[in-house]
């Protein structure tokens, strides 16, 4: 007995002595300037002009080259960017921004209000800018002096400020034309060096960047590696330093690889089994609720993405913490209840349907396979049809020619930008959801600058989307990023694209 106690004591002392060492090993070393980073990207961008491209592959890169008037942090808060402060008139119609003095573009030209005016006009060009609709609310833009810009809106909009923080709201030099597509010029932490199509894009440190001491890296190269296996192999072989969007099934293997580490991030994404309320039998609320009760969402989360994510009970990701309410308890997994609801709706023996799955998204295809097998237990036989992305967009999203599908959406900073998707007769509302009460709430939350009233309206909308079982809400999938062990300071933003100015190499 005595010896055992002594062994315990020794063990505890040893652990206690090791604790600080473990803590030290886990905390990041002090930031260090210099070095380079090779980042894997699955797709070559179709251009590096932030006002002319729709793709994340563009913003991942351009957000390092350009700045925006206001920016966002990892919590989704609006923080100063090229504007140091701003003032919103009490009627919510006029926004005045004070610009940061002494900022220059990579071509040496000073950044002034004329560039802001030009950029805003370029962002709102209909047909040319994929995000023009977001800025249609602009009534006039005036530049009273080189460091002040005043924007007048046609109507109050609570989301407008956040619309200026996205990658597609980049500030470009006045007069820059189509050449931005090939040779982008911004004020950002990195300047453009070269783009070899389908091979790589190279950026270099902007030594005159307005944030002191940033960026840390001297050189940043995006290497285009389209194949998933090839991407991870190149990372393991030491030909790459960071790869994001790592498939969950590869995490264990990468963690075992010497010199690599894996980090996970909550992302602003939402996945769901979307239901077309305009087709039978899904017009019946009881049927939709039955599908919800018939879905063991936890099992789907485990099976499809190895548990890397958080369940959602409505169309709001937990990362938007200010507005998120947990409605996960509304429809517990309960096949018996599902059967009863189906019987009540006139389908005691279930029914046949087709579940459309988007081929490029393995996580949704897998989710769909699991969901379909779960639904079988309550008599709902869903035939699985996998559609290539263009075909999915055409059939499901554009023509609403479907019953059920599994899909995900990218969230936005402002909750209304997300929730307005369910407005009646709205193009993006491929669910066919129509509820006048909901429409009024969207209107209310969109125009109100009163924080409390806005939050109330948003929460009511979240509850309606849950009560009406508009979709079988699944989860918000985490981002998994694999990198060399000496890479530190990597984080993600809750908007499309990312910035790497805080990243540094502790080694070399």
């Amino acid at each position: 007995m005595k010896t055992r106690a002594r062994i315990w004591l020794i063990a505890m002392v040893a652990v206690a002595m090791l604790l600080p060492v473990i803590a030290w090993a886990q905390s990041a070393p002090a930031p260090k300037a210099g070095g380079s980073l090779r980042f894997a990207t699955p797709a070559d961008p179709d251009g590096l002009d932030p006002h002319r491209s729709p793709a994340d592959s563009t913003f991942n890169i351009t957000m390092n080259i350009f700045d925006t008037l206001v920016a966002t942090n990892s919590k989704g808060e609006i923080v100063p960017g090229l504007a140091t402060k701003w003032y919103i008139s009490t009627d919510g119609l006029v926004y005045s921004f004070t610009l940061r003095p002494g900022v220059t573009f990579h071509n040496g030209k000073a950044f002034t209000s004329a560039d802001v005016k030009y950029s805003l006009q370029r962002m709102s060009e209909k047909g040319k800018s994929p995000h023009a609709a977001d800025y249609a609310i602009l009534d006039s833009v005036t530049a009273p002096d080189p460091l002040t810009i005043r924007l007048a809106l046609k109507r109050p909009s609570a989301r407008f400020l956040s619309d200026l923080a996205y990658g597609w709201a980049a500030m470009v030099p006045e007069g820059a034309g189509d050449e931005l597509r090939q040779k982008p010029v911004g004020t950002g932490p990195f300047r453009f060096v070269e783009w070899v199509p389908d091979s790589h894009i190279k950026l270099a440190k902007n030594a005159k960047y307005f944030v002191a001491g940033r960026p840390y890296l001297d050189e940043l190269t995006y290497r285009v590696v389209p194949d998933e296996t090839a991407r991870l192999t190149a990372l393991k072989a030491g030909e790459l330093d960071v790869a994001d969007r790592v498939p969950p099934q590869n995490v264990a293997d990468l963690k075992k690889t010497a010199g690599l580490k894996v980090e996970t991030f909550s992302r602003n994404t939402l996945s769901e089994v979307a239901i077309n309320e305009e087709t039978k039998p899904f017009t019946d609320l009881r049927v939709r609720r039955a599908l919800f009760h018939a879905t063991d969402r936890k099992a789907v989360l485990e099976g499809a993405v190895f548990g890397y994510g958080r369940l959602i009970g409505s169309f709001m990701p937990p990362i938007i913490s200010e507005f998120y309410v947990d409605l996960n308890g509304r429809y517990p997994y309960d096949p018996a209840k599902a059967k009863a609801l189906l019987a009540e709706a006139g389908f005691p023996n279930g029914f046949e349907t087709t579940l459309y799955l988007p081929q490029p998204y393995a996580e949704y295809v897998k989710s769909g396979e699991i969901v379909a097998s779960q639904w079988k237990k309550v008599g709902v036989n869903a035939k699985l049809v996998t559609l290539e992305w263009g075909a999915w967009l055409d059939r499901v999203y554009k023509k609403h020619d479907y019953g059920v599908t599994v899909i995900g959406h990218v969230g936005r900073l402002d909750p209304v930008t997300l929730l307005e998707r369910f407005k009646s007769k709205y193009n993006a509302n491929y669910f066919g959801y129509a509820n006048p009460v909901y429409d009024k709430l969207v209107e209310e939350a969109d125009t109100s600058h009163d924080k409390k009233a806005r939050k109330e309206a948003v929460v009511k909308m979240e509850r309606l989307l849950s009560e009406d079982a508009v979709c079988v809400w699944l989860f918000s999938i985490d981002g998994i990023v694999a990198m060399r062990q000496d890479v530190f300071g990597y984080s993600e933003l809750p908007i499309p694209g990312n910035r790497l100015m805080d990243v540094y190499r502790a080694g070399k």
């Binding site: 251009g47 209909k126 199509p197 290497r223 590696v225 075909a391 193009n427 509302n429």
Partner: protein
């Protein structure tokens, strides 16, 4: 080669290209998928689709779309990409050296392996060497190039660390590095063709060996090496060249997959991008270009018959 023959070939080339271009154009419009919707994706605000379609010109009547694209072809642009907003020919020219290097090296590897192996297999018919060559051919034809590519990456990049797992360095920058980056993809692509050549060459050499003139050659007391490589191979080459000519299309098709696996910035990647994004003018331009290339190569193959067998040219 008469001028009339040449004019006939060129005329038939034009007709073929016209038919190919119309079929491609129509097929693309039938396949589900809207380029504008693909640009907007599933997360854009609702009302921009029609404006974008108008800006892209995809809302115009089909004949107008075809005529404006044809105009661009005649100007030598081959159309303007909806996504890249650049003439298709510029996008092709940027990537052509990669694909040509890959296909050319693959062809060289295929012939360097396939021809000697085929001839030796025929000479040593029904021996272990012959069976070995046949087994190689059987395996080579049934192993998909993407799988072979992945296996090679695992072995030579990950385990041994000898070769880079992907990417491309231009020849002008470093001959050595360019070759290092192209070795594995070329082998992956060339091996299937090598397997086909072994089979073809073996059977045609066997056929030639049974000919009277082979006996004559031997009777003249020529060395066996000379008989085989001078007389037999020369005559057995024609069917092989035909096969290789026909395989050029397969080679370009295989390049699409191999370029994807090895991250080579070639034409194949551009084809995939164009198809997945329904970049109609880009696909049309690429098909037009590849069809021209294939037809031209087949023409060269026809010409080579005359060189390989002088009797053909005289007709």
């Amino acid at each position: 080669m008469s001028g009339r023959y040449l004019a006939g070939r060129v005329a038939s080339l034009c007709v073929t290209l016209l038919v190919v271009s119309v079929i491609t154009f129509l097929l693309l419009r039938i396949i589900p998928g809207d380029p504008a919707q693909l640009i907007l994706g599933a997360d854009s605000p609702g009302d921009s689709l029609r404006e974008l379609q108008h800006e892209l010109g995809t809302d115009r009547p089909l004949p107008a779309q075809y005529v404006s694209w044809m105009g661009s072809v005649l100007r030598g642009e081959l159309g303007v990409s909806l996504r890249h907003k650049r003439p298709v020919i510029d996008l092709i020219v940027e990537r052509l050296p990669v694909t040509l290097s890959l296909a050319g090296l693959a062809l060289l590897i295929a012939m360097a392996i396939g021809l000697p192996l085929g001839v030796e297999a025929a000479r040593r018919r029904n021996t272990m060497a012959d069976y070995g060559a046949l087994a190689f051919s059987e395996i080579g034809q049934s192993v998909p190039s993407f799988w072979l590519g992945i296996l090679m990456i695992l072995a030579f990049s990950l385990q041994l660390g000898w070769l880079p797992s992907g990417g491309f360095i231009p020849w002008s920058e470093s001959l050595w590095q360019a070759a290092r980056h192209l070795v594995m993809p070329s082998v992956a692509l060339g091996l299937v063709l090598a397997a086909t050549i072994v089979r073809m060459e073996r059977s045609s050499v066997l056929e030639v060996l049974a000919e009277d003139y082979m006996r004559t050659a031997r009777a003249k007391g020529l060395a066996e090496r000379h008989v085989i490589y001078r007389h037999a191979l020369a005559n057995a080459l024609i069917p092989t060249v035909t096969i290789v000519g026909l395989q050029v299309g397969t080679l370009l098709g295989g390049a699409i997959i191999v370029e994807q696996i090895f991250s080579l910035p070639g034409l194949g990647r551009l084809v995939l991008f164009a198809v997945f994004n329904r970049d109609w003018p880009l696909i049309q331009g690429l098909v037009f270009f590849l069809a021209t290339l294939t037809i031209a190569l087949n023409f060269l193959v026809d010409l080579s018959y005359a060189w390989l067998d002088p009797r053909i040219g005289r007709g």
